[in-house]
Amino acid sequence: MQDKLDYTLIDMKAIREEVKKSMGTEEEPFEGDVPIEKVEEAVTSKISKTKGKIIFDGFVHADGLAFTKFLEQFGLPNFVLTLTAGKAEDEEEKEI
């Protein structure tokens, strides 16, 4: 979608890594968990600089509802794509 349909990809895991790097130095890399607020700040900053369509590839929040809460500031997404691996397998997975 990024290559063919001009979407800007927001990979929160990659952004979290960038934030982590910026929190330390080469000699003394930051060890520990990056606060979610810092990641959110970096994502918001990236979005404010982006013109056009944006797509989130996953999230790094502790739970899904925290992610939806974060997205509220941008309004409702146009769509949420959920990739399934077939109905039978879905049910099988729920039983795990």
Partner: protein
Amino acid sequence: MLERCMKRAETSGRSDDNAETIKKRVQNYFDTSYPVVEYYQKFGKVRKIDATGGISEVYKQTKEAILPQTMFILGPKASGKTIIAQNLAERTNMNLLNFNEFIESNGYNDADDETVTMALIAKLSKEVKPRVIIENFPQNAYQAKFFLRNCKNPSNVFSLECSKEVCQERMSEMGQGSPGYVASAILSQKIKAYYQSAKELLPFLKANTSFTTISTDRSIEKTLEEVNDCVEPTVIHIRPGANSNNLRKEITDKLASGHEYMDLDINALIRDENERKTSIGIEMHQMVQSNRIIPAEMIVRMLKKIIYSGQPHMNKFILTSFPDIIEQAKEFEQNCAKIKAIIYSTAESDIVEIKNNNLSLFNIDSLFQKEFRLKTMSEWDFSIFNEKLGNKTDYGVIIGR
């Protein structure tokens, strides 16, 4: 999925491609990601993609899922295309795109069919509205074939038919000052040219799309009713009778879990809009704060976005806690969709006593009862429900020696 990941493990070199970790990852998906899907489901935003196929197939499905739902409206000049398309767009949450104007404003007058159709598809891929009705497209069979091959099938194609006399009458009513006006002789030429190009186009669309021929020789209101019938989903409203709130809940739950009905609980939706501070949520909040009742127009505006979210498979809805009075029911039916029936859950018997049949009392029960749209249910049974809704029962006959 497990099989696919284990196969990937043979070449990926990823240490976490083993059965145990994969199971954990799947469980993690249901624990943390699935609530996101459930949350956005109620806003009609979720598109399910079957990812069991190859990458190109999954990408094709994805592309189709994010493109807006489209409809085509075709017909000779002065057959009523624009007015019907405008009404449909307004009522069912669509953008109206006039293909002739699109060609004109983008300088495609001399472009070939492939170029203009590609440009149209590119425009659709950037469309924000989930539904688009395209007037005067396709103009020939080549454009139609190209569109179907490279985009997605339109959910409906309306071909308007109108006698030459009525077209001419409508043109003269428009008057010479109107921008679309053409003299009678030119109109005749245009009508002839349309039918000429339609000779190959219409049979192709009939064979490959959900095609409906609509006669526009009668009044616009009657035509609109027919068009709306083709597009509108099934909407029912479930109301509890005395001591039958549990039965109402049971009917709603059974229809939602087993028969693909979507429960639109108006109070919960208003709460959501309010919490998310959407523009309509803010408007509603201001109404409540100033001790005013939320107008039906606002609720209908909110519902329209969900009911017409651009997913053709989402076509059965239950209204809960709305409408309550005749004015609300009329607002909903005039500007969104017809309510097929009120299902009245009755705890003890199938009899609903309407103590006063006076419509001026604003109660919707009396209105729906007068129009034979009030149905009662004293216990849950899908076949009875279906019968009460007046759904046709399909049957077959096998004969032989």
